[in-house]
């Protein structure tokens, strides 16, 4: 479904963020991308939808090559890739509904979006998604009135209303408390399953990744150091990714807590 071939990103400063990363993700697979800060995790997912221009290499989304696309064609392909951000990246002064509907911008013309006259099907879908994440009653609140967990749910709705085939998720839980983090991860993974979406999730919390995903990629200094199931993350594997440390406490199996609050 998604294939990266020898993807390289060298920043103007000379830092090589990605060193020929080759990766293939089948339909519907949820994948966690782990690695130390500066390993190139954010760069990797931004190179896929070209928020960062890759220096060389190819990205294929459902057979279509993305790195050579013109601006207009890239816009069309970006609609197929929903993105969820670390600090939610909601437009603070817009309402929750406007934030969700902004996920449809790739599908509607300028005047419709300018006048906020989105097609009824989009509005209905927005309410359905907000209801799915338990925030339908907040539709007319301004985004900056929401708590962190609520904002991230709105961010998820914005990504899903694009009707994507792939989710690019950048540190979804980095600014959330442990319980909300689990709820958000669970929600993302459930929604991927419901809709058969593939997802790449950048995440710092190794234990959290192990709880929810089918496959883990370990990135170090822009190169893939580990690729396998979450059970394969032994202390030795973690040492190759992150460097020497006592890993026993980190990979200790965390009990799956079933206190899933609706809120």
């Amino acid at each position: 479904m998604l294939r990266l071939e020898k993807l390289v990103k060298t920043y103007k400063t000379g830092d090589q963020a990605l060193k020929a990363v080759t990766l293939e993700i089948p339909e519907g697979q949820v994948l966690a991308l782990i690695g130390p800060s500066g390993a190139g995790k954010s760069t990797l997912i931004r190179c896929i939808n070209r928020l960062v221009e890759p220096s060389s290499g190819n990205v294929f989304l459902a057979g279509k090559e993305l790195t050579g696309l013109s601006a207009g064609a890239l816009r069309k392909e970006r609609r197929r890739m929903g993105m969820i951000f670390q600090e939610y990246a909601l437009v603070e002064r817009l309402t929750v509904m406007e934030n969700v509907l902004s996920g449809r911008l790739g599908y509607v013309g300028f005047w419709r979006s300018f006048l906020r006259k989105f097609p009824q099907t989009d509005v209905d879908e927005a309410f359905r998604l907000l209801d799915r994440v338990g925030l339908a009653h907040m539709a007319d609140k301004r985004a900056d009135e929401l708590s962190g967990g609520q904002r991230q749910r709105v961010g998820i709705c914005r990504a899903l209303i694009q009707n994507p085939a792939l989710l690019l998720v950048d540190e979804p839980t980095a600014s959330l408390d442990p319980k909300t983090s689990r709820q958000i991860m669970r929600l993302v993974c459930e929604l991927c399953k419901e809709r058969g979406l593939a997802a790449i999730i950048n995440i710092h919390d190794v234990a959290l990744a192990q709880m929810f995903v089918q496959r883990v990629i370990g990135l170090r200094l822009g190169a893939v150091e580990f690729d396998g199931p979450p059970e394969g993350l032994t202390p030795e594997a973690l040492t190759t990714i992150y460097g020497e440390e006592d890993w026993e406490a980190t990979i200790e199996k965390v009990d799956e807590d079933e206190t899933e609050a609706a809120q």
Partner: protein
Amino acid sequence: MSDIAFDVHMRHGKPWKKPPLIQRPWLRWVLILAFFSYLIAAYMTIEVNWARVYFGLERGKQFVLAFTAPDFTSRSSDIWDGMIESIIMTVASSVVGIAISIPIALGAARNVAPLPVYLICRSIIAISRALQEIIVAILLVAIFGFGPLAGFLTLSFATIGFLSKLLAEDIESMDKVQAEAIKATGARWTQWINYGVQPQVMPRLIGLSIYRLDINFRESAILGLVGAGGIGATLNTAFDRYEYDTAAAILVLIIVIVMALEYLSGVIRARVQ
């Protein structure tokens, strides 16, 4: 822990002082001395004719005393006409100036516009800011003749330099991630500006616009002095006729209107946050 050898024991018991801004003491003292000697030399070049000052104090006194009895009535129709003209000039030039400023501000923000557009828009801003209102007004009065048209064009031109520059700076310092998120949805450039950029800079745009309205009104009082219409023309005539009481009345009105605008802008800016 540290790599560099640093003997903590040597430091014990000694006072600590913030490192000075300029490290080399001789350079520091030379700069301080140079500054003060220039300052004294500069003051000494200003010539004061004390006899003239004594003579002028009398006139100054009359001027100040006129404020105790401002005369609103004897030239009331001139004052009224001048005020109306000034207000029309202010509103018209602010609206036109702001409407032109917004696209130029977008072009002058490096994170929104490509380099060639950026350079063109920055040049327009630089020209508008380099030419002081009075100079522009003198030029435009020469072209269009006396009257409010020259004043209106001057203020519109000055508004562009002011508003575009400050708005462009606000656009440049916006939160990049919010705008990036809109871009990632596959939005067009115009939609990206409308959803990702505009909400972030709107409070600043409104605040600056009201502030500029206030400035344009004050400037309209000055521009009359060079023949560009408005209340300034009335004020100038009053001075020429030594009618300090009428001049005082005009100045009182200007102060009242500026204060009212100041209050209004404070209220509006607090509400749009």
